[in-house]
């Protein structure tokens, strides 16, 4: 397995972990408030911090900096472009779903959280597509 495959799998795991933690916290706050919790800078800041620290740590652990800098082959570029283009469309579809949902419930905080969820799903999809396209040898 190449550095990039391991890296994307690690980032996917981090996204699931941090995203799960973020939504668990929101869920707990919402139970306490008895309505959907409004976005909190603290929770969101912790979420971003966890992602940043864990991603940097995983890069350091997997650490082959030379490999990272050498990503220039045509096939790598094609895989990267294709995965990012598809992930962008998946993110759009997820954001559209959040917006359609908002038309019915009208809760801004729920729209905020579902849109954050859509962005997380898009990033997760990007990581999985990169791994999939590498293995498929696109």
């Amino acid at each position: 397995m190449s550095f990039w495959e391991k890296g994307y799998l690690a980032v996917a795991a981090i996204l699931v972990l941090a995203g799960g933690g973020y939504f668990y916290t929101i869920w707990q706050q919402s139970i306490t408030l008895e309505s959907v919790a409004p976005p909190s800078w603290g929770t969101f800041g912790v979420y971003l911090l966890v992602i940043t620290v864990l991603t940097l740590s995983s890069v350091a652990v997997l650490g082959r900096v030379q490999t990272i800098n050498n990503r220039t082959s045509d096939i790598d570029e094609m895989i990267n472009l294709k995965s990012r283009a598809t992930a962008s469309h998946v993110t759009s579809a997820a954001v559209y779903a959040s917006l359609v949902w908002f038309l019915f419930h009208g809760d801004g905080s729920l729209l905020f959280h579902s849109t954050v969820g859509a962005l997380i799903v898009g990033e997760l999809c990007l990581c999985m597509l990169q791994v999939f396209n590498y293995n498929r040898a696109y």
Binding site: S88, V95, G108, F112, T115
Partner: protein, 140 residues
């Protein structure tokens, strides 16, 4: 001009017209209310119906007028252009959506978040076609 480039021009134009039409309705409703209006399902449906109907008509006319090219699968260069444009437009959408999220965290106005996110999706789709046209022109 290739069939795909003409299609990109046509789709981009349709989306710009539909987007202006939609946001004019939203601006009028907001002006009447004196605040950002809540999203109206009727406006969204009107936007979708307009885009679908005009796209189907325009693509049918283009397909009939250039049957062979319309049915030809994308070659490697075209595939790369489509992927690159799709990738770049993702950044446009993400920028708009994240801006909307940050504004919501400050203003707590869900209607504004809806319109910004919806607008970002429209702009990113238009940007995707614009990037395709630019890449075709650039001879990438």
């Amino acid at each position: 001009m290739s069939h795909r480039e003409i299609s990109a021009w046509v789709m981009g134009s349709i989306l710009i017209i539909a987007g202006i039409y939609y946001f004019r309705l939203v601006a009028q409703a907001s002006a009447a209310l004196g605040e950002v209006s809540p999203p109206v399902i009727g406006f969204v449906i009107a936007y979708v119906i307009f885009v679908v109907i005009t796209s189907v008509i325009a693509m049918s006319i283009l397909g009939v007028s250039n049957h062979q090219e319309a049915n030809a699968p994308a070659d490697e260069r075209e595939k790369q252009i489509i992927d690159k444009a799709g990738h770049w437009s993702g950044y446009v959408m993400a920028f708009g959506v994240v801006t909307g999220l940050l504004l919501y965290a400050v203003t707590q106005d869900g209607n504004r978040l809806f319109h910004i996110a919806f607008g970002s999706l429209m702009v990113s789709q238009i940007a995707e076609y614009a990037f395709q046209i630019w890449l075709y022109r650039k001879g990438e």
